[in-house]
Symmetry: C2
Subunit: 278 residues, 2 copies
């Protein structure tokens, strides 16, 4: 008992960054990745539904954050609900949400190079006479004519906002180009840098917690992508818990410096670890 008391005193003296997994006493908000962390396709990762409920019943703020460029918030909500998760629309924050926030803040009229399913998140915007190019994974728009339209807009002063700059992704038929190469093409042509809004950008994590008015060091990110989820969140000043599900591969915890605050077998174990160390 004496040792635990000593540890408690030490934990109060150390700054949150040095607490590692010892104490999450100051934590107010938990950010959770979706695919690979809570579910894989249409299947729950065992124990995740109950673990989300445990978090919801705590005093912690809870937000689900994901790097989609194709699916609107409603698409994601429908999938989560059909699997059995209890999630509110306001709890979902995606790279598309981040882009929409960014556009609203900038007060610009976007030229949207986005998948049709993503357009729902951009309803109500004035898209006449565009002064911003917003680019996600939009194979139908990745043709010479549309790319040229975007190029001319940027040359004439339009902003360039990228949902994210992923190089490629895995499709059932093999690897396929992500939005990154096409963002890169426009950057090269115009000698301008895109404003990237998705993970692992600092602005993404800060936007996700904006409504809670808490500081990064009061937040924990849980995810299966050691760079985009954990590296990004920790670089923003948050704690990061890596789960060994989804895209996790042996040794991933050693891929970033500093290492993840904690590595858990799965989301349920990650939640237990947080709730036990509050």
């Amino acid at each position: 008992m004496l040792n635990q008391r000593v540890l408690y005193v030490i934990s109060k003296v150390l700054s949150p960054r040095h607490l590692s997994s010892m104490s999450f006493a100051k934590i107010r908000t938990v950010l959770v990745d979706l695919s690979g962390t809570l579910h894989i396709d249409k299947d729950e990762i065992p124990g995740s539904i109950a673990a989300v409920n445990r978090l919801s019943q705590s005093d912690l703020n809870l937000k689900f954050v994901t790097n989609t460029t194709k699916e609107s918030k409603q698409c994601l909500l429908d999938r989560l609900t059909s699997i059995g998760f209890s999630v509110q629309p306001s709890q979902i924050f995606t790279s598309l949400t981040a882009a929409r926030c960014q556009i609203d803040k900038m007060g610009v009229r976007p030229f949207l190079m986005l998948d049709k399913r993503a357009l729902e998140d951009f309803k109500g915007l004035d898209t006449t006479n565009p002064n911003a190019v917003v680019i996600g994974l939009a194979p139908d728009d990745f043709n010479y004519q549309t790319m040229n339209t975007a190029f001319r807009l940027i040359v004439n002063g339009a902003a360039l906002v990228a949902i994210h700059k992923g190089r490629y992704y895995k499709r059932p038929d093999g690897l396929a180009l992500g939005p990154g190469p096409f963002v890169s093409a426009l950057e090269y042509a115009t000698d301008r840098k895109a404003d990237v809004v998705g993970k692992p950008e600092r602005s993404f994590f800060l936007s996700a917690i904006e409504e809670f008015q808490c500081r990064p060091e009061e937040c924990i990110m849980i995810g299966d992508d050691v760079r985009d989820d954990i590296g990004g969140a920790m670089a923003t000043g948050m704690y990061g818990i890596l789960v060994k599900t989804g895209k996790y591969r042996d040794g991933d915890e050693n891929q970033i410096d500093p290492k993840p605050t904690f590595t858990a077998d799965n989301f349920s174990k990650a939640v237990d670890h947080i709730l036990q160390n509050l």
Copy 2:
């Protein structure tokens, strides 16, 4: 007369690189750009036809070098002939010729992303089961599906050969994307660097003079593009004469360091300058 004699002796002592425009005594080969230097569209730049004839009647090797990605050697020859120039097919060296040479040397089977008019320069090549991607300005191929095919080939080990990496060019209806952005997209997706074959690459100028078996310091490049023609040639060790026609803009001679060896009002004056200083 004494002063001229002194200058002559000095010129013999100095290395060719330091001769500036004083003497071209060691020159064996002249390289000449086409559009903007000899002609603009279908019009001769006055005096150019006669000047080409003067060069042809000298002992100098003569080659016409251009950065086209769309027109085959025959297209260019037909245009020059129709304007009134006397040019042999073997005297034309283009970025497409350079790409063809490169492919022949590599012994690869190319996946050709090229304008239909350019394909003539790639006749007789085996294009089954490609192990190289060759990319020029090919709007019809700049779509997601074809870019993805190229991406997968490169990921599987295919070489990436770019005709050139021009960012954009001027079309009657405004600026339009060049091949560069799409080359850049494939480079970003695959984390590989393209083998660029056109001007201002050193390899382009060396390939152009290969048949003459002369050294770069025995060559002069004449052109209207201070970076791609003059800067590229001079970085290869050649002399460079900038002409004030075509895309030349006031002060262009100050855009590169070292400056062009000489700046002439037009191609005819450039040829006079060479022939008078041999």
